[in-house]
């Protein structure tokens, strides 16, 4: 499997994905800066708090990287069917389930790592800007991390699992647009769901349900749709 993942990375040139990660994080920092600057300079507005800024970071992370992971799904998996290169892949003396699973592992690991880096950079950035420019209401306390870290881990884990949905729907339709539109729908549905919770994150039963349904559907797709060329 490690060999297949290495080949997949070689084939798709992962440098541009790193560039996207960096750009997405920079964009998030810029977005936060504009928001903080606006609230700081507008006398009619109250200064942003650490809590509200952290929520904004969570929103950005759970939007940018899952959408990009659907682009990766489209390129790495659905694109192989679309461009017919899958006929070559499937004529190799390799287990086809492993071939596709290797691609999904790359997508999920990419989502998890880039979201984690994003959280670390953006949270570090607001702490830094507050310390040097006093841009936020109140001061940063280490105790805040007790909320931030579990929330970030939950969001990252859930988004990583949900990054399988573009694969599921994309494979049913064998369509690149379907994969990308699915990521948008999943992100919106997740936001609708978590805003109903007081903690602004998924409850344990919701996580378990989403994970079970997602993995169950992925298994079905592997059984029914992966071997089909058309």
């Amino acid at each position: 499997m490690a060999h297949l993942i290495r080949l997949e990375l070689k084939k798709n040139g992962f440098a541009r994905n790193m560039i996207f990660t960096a750009a997405a994080i920079l964009f998030s920092m810029l977005f936060i800066t504009v928001s903080l600057w606006d609230s700081m300079t507008d006398p009619e507005q109250a200064k942003d708090t650490f809590e509200s800024t952290y929520l904004a970071i969570g929103l950005l992370m759970s939007f940018l990287f899952p959408v990009y992971s659907s682009v990766l799904t489209a390129r790495l998996v659905i694109g192989e069917y679309d461009q017919r290169t899958i006929t070559i892949m499937f004529s190799y003396p390799l287990n086809r389930t492993k071939l596709i699973a290797g691609k999904l592992i790359i997508i999920m690991v990419y989502t998890a790592i880039s979201m984690t880096i994003g959280y670390i950079c953006c949270c570090g950035y607001i702490v830094f800007t507050d310390r040097h420019f006093d841009m936020l209401e109140g001061t940063f306390r280490i105790s805040m991390l007790q909320t931030w870290i579990p929330t970030a881990i939950t969001a990252t884990a859930v988004c990583t699992v949900l990054s399988l949905w573009p694969f599921i729907i994309g494979m049913i339709r064998k369509s690149v647009p379907a994969a990308i539109v699915t990521s948008w729908i999943v992100i919106v549905l997740r936001q609708v769901m978590i805003t109903k919770n007081e903690t602004n994150q998924e409850s344990l039963p919701q996580i378990l349900l989403a994970t079970t349904v997602t993995f169950g559907m992925t298994f079905l797709i592997f059984k029914k749709k992966v071997p089909e060329l058309y």
Partner: protein, 302 residues
């Protein structure tokens, strides 16, 4: 002779349309098997089933004596293939595509890449991204990829599509060389019957998903009749004259055309006799039935 590949009662239908029906193919080791049939006859479907790319509704495929199942992977190390239009990773170069192929096939000899690029005349453009390749270049690269890992069995679905006449000739020679010098068994489909006639030693003809016949090419050549065709202004008078000349084996096709099934008769003698007896001769030519004639004859019969 051992069969490299055999299909037993292979059947596949798509939404009620039968694409392959009880197809039994036998490809002897070291042979070149030409697979011919009209568009939509089921050639590609059969080839895909052999490569385990689509699952048959019924029947079996045996490769190197082993039954192909959903879990057959290792056996495909011994098979090279071109199926449908050549597909590549467009942003990679020819060399990068071939390197990837080596890695996926578990074929360690990267020096072979230079060899195959030379065989298909792409050694000077190997550094170019595939998206800048013409269809003919892609087709040649697909052939290079198929033969890269020195397969024992080569499955080629319309491999000379999009090639120019010079390219067709070169690839034909390449396939012959692989077959004769390396003992590669080749299963080749083509619409160009004259090409198949030149390269194959066994022919399978498929129509509406059914394998109509499977014969050694010598057998087909034996059945092919040589004849002299005459176009005259009065076929009845010409026929009477032929009888007078002692020629018994001929048939009058219509008012103008006569076919003489004795190719040893001199054309000069014939034309002289006809002209001396006042029969106008429009044309005279010798002809041998080709694989194409046999193919159309078979299609009509079925």
């Amino acid at each position: 002779m051992d069969a490299v590949m055999e299909t037993v009662g292979l059947r596949k239908s798509y939404k009620g349309n039968v694409a392959a029906d009880d197809v039994n193919i036998h490809i002897p080791k070291g042979s070149v098997y030409g697979f011919v049939g009209p568009n939509g006859a089921g050639k590609s479907t059969v080839m895909k089933m052999i490569l385990n790319l689509i699952r048959p509704d019924a029947g079996e495929v045996h490769l190197f004596g082993e039954k192909v199942t959903d879990r057959s992977y290792e056996i495909f190390k011994r098979v090279g293939s071109i199926i449908e239009n050549p597909a590549f990773y467009d942003r990679l170069t020819a060399r990068q595509n071939l390197e990837l192929h080596c890695e996926y096939m578990g074929f360690p000899n990267k020096e072979r890449i230079d060899e195959v690029l030379q065989m298909v005349d792409l050694q000077n453009v190997e550094g170019k991204q595939i998206r800048h390749y013409s269809l003919g270049m892609k087709q040649r690269l697909a052939i290079a990829r198929a033969i890269l890992a020195r397969p024992e069995f080569l499955i080629l679905d319309e491999p000379i599509n999009a090639l120019d006449p010079e390219g067709i000739c070169k690839m034909r020679n390449l396939f012959r060389r692989l077959n004769r010098e390396e003992g590669t068994t080749i299963f080749i489909s083509s619409h160009i019957l004259s090409e198949v006639d030149l390269i194959a030693d066994t022919i399978g003809i498929i129509q509406h998903g059914k394998l109509l016949t499977e014969l050694p090419i010598e057998e087909i050549h034996k059945r092919q009749t040589a004849y002299i065709s005459l176009q005259v202004d009065d076929a009845a008078r010409a026929a009477a004259l032929l009888e007078q000349m002692g020629i018994a084996s001929f048939s009058v096709l219509d008012k103008e055309f006569i076919r003489i099934y004795d190719p040893d008769i001199s054309g000069k003698v014939l034309s002289k006799a006809l002209l001396e007896n006042g029969v106008g001769l429009e044309s005279l030519w010798r002809k041998q039935d080709t694989l194409e004639d046999y193919f159309f004859q078979l299609m009509e019969e079925k």
